[in-house]
């Protein structure tokens, strides 16, 4: 099957896509794509850095080291640090349950995992306010025990977790379904305990997909605005995450500072993208060497 496949691939790449006019069509399409990317992606990105640095490097440095900004950076990182590991564990558990077992309500669980994708983040934030806010369902109980959730770190973490929980599971479910459970069952018949099977067989097989899911979760957790905005209360230096801090500065007409902080977020995002590209490159390499293993007809 190997040689047949490569032959097939070569054939399809060599075959001209259209006819003689395809060159014009191709150049046209590429030009449209590049123009579009330039206007909606490249231009704004450049502008962020241009505005951030228009007051000079000194102003930039001042803006990003200002106490409120530092607190926002810390809060954003802390939130990601709590939300991402929790969602990773949840995502792996959910993906495993869905990919490996048949149980009543499986369809419902799959739908529930997608809810954060479908629901507006603002609604997610409101939901937590309705639950834990001063006049919410648990408001009285929380006040009695002197626990603050809304307008505090727990609320921000909860809202972030809600918005980001599909990423890991969504990444792993198709991967685990394609890989099947034979390797795991083999490990069990060879005497491995459930934990040994997970650490030695399952985890190494899903590691790239898992990394990818974690990266997406991290990126979204640091950039989330809507849900966090509703539950945070915008208290400067206390409950402002980076995206919220940008908005606050912007509304105060502190353009340079606003763009300076925005450029920080952008840098985080670019770093994340860089890691993602690196992982995709590594995955492609791993896939290329593993593709032989798959039988024809097995969906990847």
């Amino acid at each position: 099957m190997g040689p047949a496949n490569t032959h097939h691939a070569r054939e399809s790449t060599q075959r001209p896509v259209g006819g003689e006019e395809s060159l014009i069509v191709r150049c046209g399409l590429i030009a449209i794509a590049i123009a579009f990317l330039a206007v909606v992606l490249f231009l704004p990105l450049t502008l962020v850095f241009t505005y951030a640095l228009q007051g000079g490097v000194r102003a930039y440095a001042l803006a990003v080291t200002e106490p409120d900004t530092r607190s926002a950076i810390w809060l954003t990182l802390l939130t990601a640090l709590i939300a991402v590991p929790i969602n990773t564990v949840f995502g792996v558990a959910a993906a495993w349950a869905i990919a490996r077992f048949e149980f009543p309500g499986k369809g419902v669980l799959i739908t529930l995992i997608d809810v954060p994708f479908a629901v507006s983040p603002v609604i997610a934030g409101l939901l937590f306010v309705l639950l834990f806010g001063a006049r919410g369902w648990f408001g009285d109980v929380l006040r009695e025990h002197d626990v603050q959730i809304i307008f505090a770190l727990p609320g921000i973490v909860l809202a972030t977790m809600f918005v980001t929980f599909p990423f890991v599971a969504r990444e792993l479910i198709p991967l685990m379904q394609a890989q099947g459970s034979d390797e795991e069952l083999s490990a069990i018949t060879l005497g491995a305990s459930g934990w040994q099977m997970f650490l030695r067989v399952t985890l190494p097989n899903i590691k790239w997909g898992l990394f990818y899911g974690v990266i997406l979760t991290t990126a979204r957790a640091m950039g989330e605005f809507g849900a966090v905005s509703v539950v945070s209360g915008h208290i400067r230096g206390e409950t402002n995450t980076l995206p919220l801090h940008v908005e606050v500065l912007y509304n105060d007409y502190q353009m340079t500072a606003a763009f300076a902080v925005a450029s920080l977020l952008t840098l985080f995002a670019l770093a994340t993208l860089g890691v993602k590209a690196l992982i995709e490159w590594a995955t492609a390499k791993a896939d290329a060497s593993e593709s032989e293993r798959f039988e024809p007809g097995v969906q990847r």
Binding site: D182, S186, I188, T189, R200
Partner: protein
Amino acid sequence: MSIALRNIHKSFGAYPALSDVSLDVHAGELVALLGPSGSGKTTLLRIIAGLESPDPGVAGRPEPEVRFDGRSIIGTSVSGRGVGFVFQHYALFRHMSVCENIAFGLRVRPRKARPAEADIRARVRELLGLVQLEGLAQRMPHELSGGQRQRVALARALAVEPRVLLLDEPFGALDARVRADLRAWLRSLHAKMKVTTILVTHDQEEALEVADRVVVLNKGRIEQIGPPADVYHAPATPFVCTFLGRVNIFSHRATLGEPAADGAGPPAGLRYVRPHEMDIMTDGLDADNDRMHGTITHVNAAGPVVRVELRTDDLERVMVDLTHERFRMLGVARGDRVLVAPRDARVFQDGAGI
């Protein structure tokens, strides 16, 4: 180690995968579970391994029993049963080298029972020799051919010294030539190891060639158990007869025994005749109860026997296998009109199965 199965039922939803299966496998035996897809053979294998559990007994049906050496293992976990299971698609750990794949079962043992590193290495080397893969220890699974992967899977299963070896369509994904080689190799490996082995296959040739005994399954029931020669030459049911090799079925003229003395007609049945039990005649005999007139439609002499196909005057298609000697003697060719007759036949009651 011997295996005893009693009253095994298994349903997936409303679909009965196994109905009332009982089976004994003797110590050191190599048994093939043979049947078409959906016959329940893999389910039965997975129940022995503990990957599935049989349905519990209900009113009027006794509890299922799975015994290894007489001891019930129904409640024993998969890892506690000491079975070696080889999957159809090998299921090698894709991120581990051949060596690490084979060593896996030893490495996951609790610290007290785990052999020393040097012993593990020695054992892996020994197993690599057994499956004739010396020199490939550091390869990754994707760098091996299908036949090599299957042998690694076997070595990995044997590393933990299983009391029973369960093979699920072990050669199903390989091409015909490799399959034939591996069959012979498995036979000799089994003769060397003497591990009780159960092999699942849908390939009758494989089952007949490799196994000491063949268990023919159909629609979740056992049709026949017996040595290969028995199930081939003395099939117990029409299904076994048609599933194990090619067969001509004559729908008429067949009689069950001699006409009764009181003149009542004998019960009608279907006559099952294997191609090699048919003969062709060219002299001018008349057609009768056994002999039929027909025209040769196809001749294939490329093989150990000459395969001849005929169409009778009643438009039945008949397959005849002749020895090359007999074929030369007859001197017939495509388009010739000849007489064809069974030398031997099995008669099954009409509608008695299939």
